[in-house]
Symmetry: C3
Subunit: 139 residues, 3 copies
């Protein structure tokens, strides 16, 4: 059994931006040299999210639009009234989607569907430097 860790650094383009992490996560998994195991992907910080989706141009619009519909920006949030930083909805969107994901690993590869990419979603209101912590565990 072994553990292998690397951090992916990305700069998101701003509110609603989705980044495909699949190839970077795959490269890290290859280096881990694990035959059977899991790979954990974690967004360090409270206004980003991680998940799986078919990351094509249509859904790249649809997912942020859905977030805006379900958890709209608003000055009425308690977070807003205390901090006035305009990102109450960002925190809530992140908590709803989740900051992390685990995928299975087999023979040095992640086991994901052909149309199932690993994404980072920028829930914050502006471009952010993001640190994404990838941990591979297996044998």
């Amino acid at each position: 059994m072994a553990v292998y860790r690397e951090t992916i650094n990305i700069t998101s383009a701003g509110s609603g931006d989705m980044t495909d992490l699949t190839s970077k996560v795959s490269e890290i998994v290859k280096k881990a040299e694990v035959t059977t195991g899991i790979c954990h992907v974690f967004n360090f910080g409270s206004t980003g999210a991680i998940g799986t989706i078919e990351l094509e141009p249509g859904l790249e619009q649809d997912f942020p639009n859905l977030m805006k519909k379900l958890v709209p920006p608003s000055k009425a949030y308690g977070h807003e009234q205390a901090w006035h930083d305009g990102n109450g909805h960002s925190h809530l969107q992140s908590s709803i989607v989740g900051a992390e994901l685990t995928v299975p690993v087999e023979k040095g590869n992640i086991m994901n569907g052909t149309w199932q990419q690993i994404f980072h979603y920028e829930a914050d209101t502006k471009s952010r430097n993001r640190k994404i912590i990838v941990t591979v565990i297996g044998e």
Copy 2:
């Protein structure tokens, strides 16, 4: 420390169908012969979801109804306009609920509440053959 993997194959009955995976996951965990560890359950593909719920007939209706309310089928999705396959909402529902779940394992059993089952939710528009990858890690 050991890793054990098996795949569960199910055929969902179509849009909104919920499948109880608890007993099949439990059988795999038993074979893994792990005293203390975790069990990861992953839906291979981008239009299914995995989670925990009390899987009784009432909630088996309520959960798909909630999904339909929060993320309704619509031809207005960008995904729809590009692919015309009628399942833009399916991808979005899957990403919101999540494609995977981890549960603790103790003495060869999953540690879940009495009314806490592991479910697969079919977010796609028709019956699908689903491959669910189960990974047990522990000692």
Copy 3:
């Protein structure tokens, strides 16, 4: 490689109560003496949820309010009509947010952002004793 487990027992204050688990999880992770690994946090039971958020007084109101808006209490749920226990929405809220979370561990500490706390959310309608199972795996 090692596995370490402890259970956190909390008593929630009732519907919508959020508990900061960060320091208790951190204490357990310290005892695990793991240099590189992961920590899994699981709510035992079907009407609580686990996630990450900036747990300040504003969001402590905003998150339960969002839950009430997206998944309101109602006697119309199928669960309600069968069981009459008033917590159909509690099950649905729990399944949407998720009952569990994994965070990375490094040098005996969880790797979370400064404003990224681990929370338990009480989705049930009254005060509950909650058992939260924490599992640390790493080397």
